[in-house]
């Protein structure tokens, strides 16, 4: 038995986010259908809400296991207003406790899955006409693949865009076959740890600068993983705040002294 839920939001993205949070499920595990894409309108006129439906994918064992007396299509309209929050909470309760949490610890990965990951990476690299070795290890039940060879620079790409693209595609390909949550990270040489050090250094350097001048500094747009590194590097510093700015996957980070800028809302996370 499948459950189809309807969500709406200012943008399709926001509606999907709500679906994920509400169902406590990764985006990849939901079949999402867009009913209306919504419209930002012009100067606030003609604004329309985006509407989507979300259906948990076939590994719905957890979903079907939950007692489901509700009709298979439940309408849950959650708009961004907090006043409507209860609807969200209620539907969560309906779903029963058998949901996997987003903070779920990884289970021991299936050896076939590890082999598949390494095969897919090797195949992609060789089809790209590049040469590299791939080593796959499991640390704390998380799968880690490291690519290494003469073409490392090309495989990393500008600011890591190629390695991120490979990681994204491998993830997609594997979760297409193995529907459960995948804990997988891809590295080339020691690119990720080098980048981490670089970002931490940059974050701390800017923090010092912001503290002495009081002027807000911004770091160029980064992906979520890189933003996380910066936020973590700065989270223990009480004198400054860091906040992500912008829309979409890539956001800038703004570092500022909280008293400045007339009471900007305290950091969101």
């Amino acid at each position: 038995m499948t459950v189809t839920l309807q969500y709406s939001g200012k943008t399709v993205e926001e509606a999907i986010d709500k679906a994920c949070r509400n169902l406590n499920t990764a985006r990849e595990d939901l079949n999402i259908k867009i009913i209306t894409p919504g419209s930002k309108g012009f100067l606030g006129f003609g604004r329309r809400q985006a509407q989507i439906t979300a259906t948990p994918k076939k590994d719905g064992s957890e979903f079907s296991a939950a007692p489901q007396d509700t009709p298979s299509t439940t309408e849950v309209d959650i708009s961004s207003e907090t006043s409507q929050k209860p609807a969200c909470r209620k539907s969560k309760k309906d779903r029963g406790p058998s949901y996997r949490g987003s903070r779920q610890e990884p289970a021991q990965p299936d050896p076939a899955e590890i082999l598949e990951i390494s095969t897919v990476i090797k195949e992609i690299i060789s089809l790209m006409g590049l040469k590299a070795e791939v080593e796959t290890t499991v640390v704390n039940n998380r799968i880690k693949a490291v690519i290494d060879g003469p073409d490392n620079k090309l495989i990393i790409g500008q600011r890591g865009e190629t390695i991120d693209a490979i990681q994204y595609l491998v993830r997609k390909i594997i979760s297409h076959k193995y529907p459960h949550k995948l804990f997988f990270a891809l590295d080339v040489g020691n690119y990720r740890s080098r980048r981490r050090e670089e970002l931490e250094e940059l974050a701390l350097k800017l923090a010092v600068k912001v503290k002495s001048s009081g002027i807000t500094e911004t770091i160029a747009a980064m992906n979520p993983a890189e933003r996380r590194i910066v936020h973590l590097a700065l989270q223990d510093d009480r004198e400054i705040r860091s906040v992500s700015m912008g829309d979409g996957l890539f956001k800038k980070i703004r570092i500022y002294v909280p008293s400045k800028k007339g009471g900007r809302p305290a950091r969101r996370r």
Binding site: I16, L130, L154, A165, L169, I173
Partner: protein, 76 residues
């Protein structure tokens, strides 16, 4: 490069047998044309075109290796 696009596309879709790829090379620029089943279009494009963008990124890296440029077109 045709094989690269085909491999990724077939691994992402529900109807791999309907994946078709064409390659046109006009002086230094390779055009890859990808056709998939109607129902699978979203799978190769991805939300906000993220999957298509990722495939394009790999294609560019691969083309750079042989000093060429590559474009990917997903044909509806």
């Amino acid at each position: 490069m045709k094989e690269l696009v085909g491999f990724i596309a077939r691994a992402l879709v529900d109807n791999p047998e309907e994946v078709r790829g064409d390659e046109v090379d006009t002086d230094g620029t390779i055009l890859e044309e990808l056709r998939v089943a109607q129902d699978d279009l979203g799978k190769v494009i991805g939300k906000q075109g993220r999957t298509a963008r990722a495939i394009r990124t790999l294609l560019s890296a691969s083309a750079r290796k042989v000093d060429k440029r590559a474009r990917l077109e997903i044909i509806e």
